[in-house]
């Protein structure tokens, strides 16, 4: 069957009516309420969103987009991190030369490393700011207590991801920063030395520490982060979207920070 013989249809319709297309997408063009719902619910990535959101949860000054920015930075880090993995070798003898190689010989190697490092610093900062935002807007309150805990766990994982990555260049900066950092862990009474030993795999920062930090950095922590972020986002939807929705007055007319006064005005009118 040729395109021309397809009745009453354009080439586009021929494609979107085909069995192949329809096996991929189970919704029509999203220009009506039904398909706009289906486009979200029938896609594994988009279904983390609610089908509808309140206008007030889109106000920039409520969230500053910090949660989304943190996820975006995590994406940048995974992408640039995988690129760096093609060239990096977690060995005391070869790590530093590999870094030199990335900076000098690999096309865009220095640039990729720059992006990885600056995104990492920024992600830690943004995750902290996100925690501050959620606290001051009271968004941890019932029924969102569990998601707050997941968020605290994600912040600790982010710190862990950054800290384990810090050692990998195997230069003076990383070596002594990790020595200082793991010494702090060693100060815990009774378990301190054990914790430090588990992290480093030996009495001081060496090959055993490097391979442990590498494995944590490229495998364990990113996996836990993906899992944690998935739970975190899914739970946002399950708990009723952003907390600002709970405080909505009729038609969302009252600005967030005049909420209580605004309700009093409304009641006086009625």
């Amino acid at each position: 069957m040729s395109v021309q013989t397809h009745q009453n249809g354009s080439r586009w319709e021929f494609i979107t009516q085909s069995r192949v297309w329809r096996s991929f997408f189970r919704h029509g063009w999203p220009d009506n309420p039904l398909d706009r719902s289906l486009v979200m619910t029938s896609n594994i990535f988009l279904h983390l969103h609610p089908v509808k959101v309140n206008r007030r949860s889109l106000h920039w000054s409520y969230t500053f987009g910090l949660g989304v920015i943190a996820v975006v930075l995590f994406g940048v880090l995974v992408f640039t991190g995988v690129l760096l993995m093609f060239y990096y070798v977690p060995s005391v003898e070869r790590a530093y030369p590999a870094l030199r190689n990335i900076e000098v010989s690999v096309p865009l190697g220095q640039f990729t490393r720059n992006m990885h490092r600056w995104s990492a610093h920024l992600m830690v900062l943004v995750a902290i700011l996100h925690l501050i935002r959620v606290f001051y807007t009271g968004a941890y309150k019932s029924p969102r207590e569990f998601n707050w805990l997941v968020g605290v766990g994600l912040l600790l994982l982010t710190l862990g991801a950054s800290f384990t990555g810090y050692l990998l260049p195997w230069d003076q900066l990383s070596y002594w920063a990790i020595t200082v950092g793991t010494n702090i862990a060693g100060y815990a009474p009774l378990i301190g030395n054990a914790v430090r030993g588990i992290l480093l795999g030996g009495p001081e920062v060496g090959q055993d520490a490097l391979i442990r930090f590498y494995t944590l950095h490229v495998a364990l922590i990113p996996t836990l982060l993906v899992l944690g972020i998935s739970i975190h986002l899914w739970r946002v939807r399950k708990d009723g979207g952003l907390a600002v929705n709970d405080s909505v007055t009729p038609a969302g007319e009252v600005p967030a920070d005049e909420h209580v006064g605004g309700m009093q005005k409304t009641s006086e009118k009625s």
């Binding site: 999203p30 706009r36 719902s37 988009l46 969103h49 089908v51 509808k52 959101v53 309140n54 206008r55 889109l58 409520y62 989304v68 975006v72 930075l73 994406g75 530093y96 720059n114 600056w118 995104s119 610093h121 902290i128 925690l131 001051y136 807007t137 009271g138 941890y140 309150k141 019932s142 207590e145 707050w148 805990l149 605290v152 710190l159 800290f163 260049p169 195997w170 230069d171 003076q172 900066l173 070596y175 002594w176 920063a177 200082v180 702090i184 100060y187 009474p189 001081e204 920062v205 907390a243 709970d246 909505v248 009729p250 038609a251 969302g252 967030a256 920070d257 209580v260 309700m263 009641s267």
Partner: protein, 258 residues
């Protein structure tokens, strides 16, 4: 007005107990199965939310992209366990703890306080069980004032503590006079505890809600963390001694350690 009415707006728009024998009904242009509910001001996520997300993806990536063109990631000489760098600093997010270590016993600064902070974060949603002011910055005007005054209070006292302890170190003053756990453990911990507790005590005398006490405590924590981090990062030079950032000896530049 009671708080239940803040949440339950539907009853206000469609009162259940009414003497009216008629209803106002209107045909409206619009979409969504919102029968029997008040105006909710919601929009379909597609495409609004996706567009915002795409803008953030492109914007954030572009910002990091441009910064990476301008500033190179640092790479110093190859690691040498025999040559200690001076100063040797932890990554910036732990440098606040390193600053804390200068003022008190390692078990207090490196273990007790960080554990207390994480526990505080973990339990706070279970301490504050009210639903008042959910989704509102600082809950109320009073909450905003509490945050502001506590931030100012911490921003004065914590730097004062750092500078005073740096000039007249408890560790040195009380050496050989009291046991180590008093001079470096109990006393500094007591000072910090008093600084943290004063806003909470003042507030509870003024019949503050748990949420308002938490705002004060959280603000003390965040502002202190910022101050200790800034001090450790910018004011500490060789030997982890205190210098002004632009007067660092040996050409040491704190920003090179990022």
């Amino acid at each position: 007005m009671s708080t239940t009415n803040l949440v339950n707006t539907t009853d206000e728009i469609f009162p259940k107990q009414t003497n009216k024998t008629y209803a106002l009904v209107e045909l409206m242009r619009g979409d969504g199965p919102m029968v029997g509910k008040g105006p909710d001001g919601s929009v379909f996520s597609f495409p609004v939310v996706l567009l915002i997300e795409i803008i953030l993806v492109l914007g954030v990536t572009l910002a990091v992209f441009l910064f990476s063109l301008l500033k190179q990631a640092p790479l110093e000489a190859i690691a040498n366990p025999l040559v200690t760098t001076d100063p040797a600093k932890a990554p910036w997010y732990f440098v606040g703890l390193q600053e804390l270590l200068e003022h008190m016993h390692p078990t207090v600064a490196g273990v007790l306080i960080p554990t207390a902070l994480v526990l505080f974060l973990a339990v706070l949603p279970y301490v504050d069980r009210s639903r008042d002011g959910v989704g509102v910055w600082f809950t109320s005007l009073r909450g905003r004032r509490i945050a502001g005054w506590t931030a100012l209070y911490t921003a004065v006292l914590m730097p004062a503590y750092i500078l005073l302890d740096n000039a007249f170190s408890l560790r040195e003053l009380l050496r050989n006079k009291t046991p180590e756990w008093v001079a470096q453990g109990l006393l500094p911990l007591a000072i910090i505890a008093v600084i943290v507790a004063v806003p909470a005590l003042v507030l509870s005398r003024r019949k503050a809600t748990p949420r308002e006490v938490l705002i004060a405590l959280f603000t003390v924590m965040i502002v202190s963390a910022v101050i200790f981090t800034l001090s450790g990062f910018f004011l500490r030079g060789p030997g982890f001694k205190m210098y002004l950032p632009w007067q660092m000896p040996n050409g040491y530049n704190p920003l090179n350690g990022l």
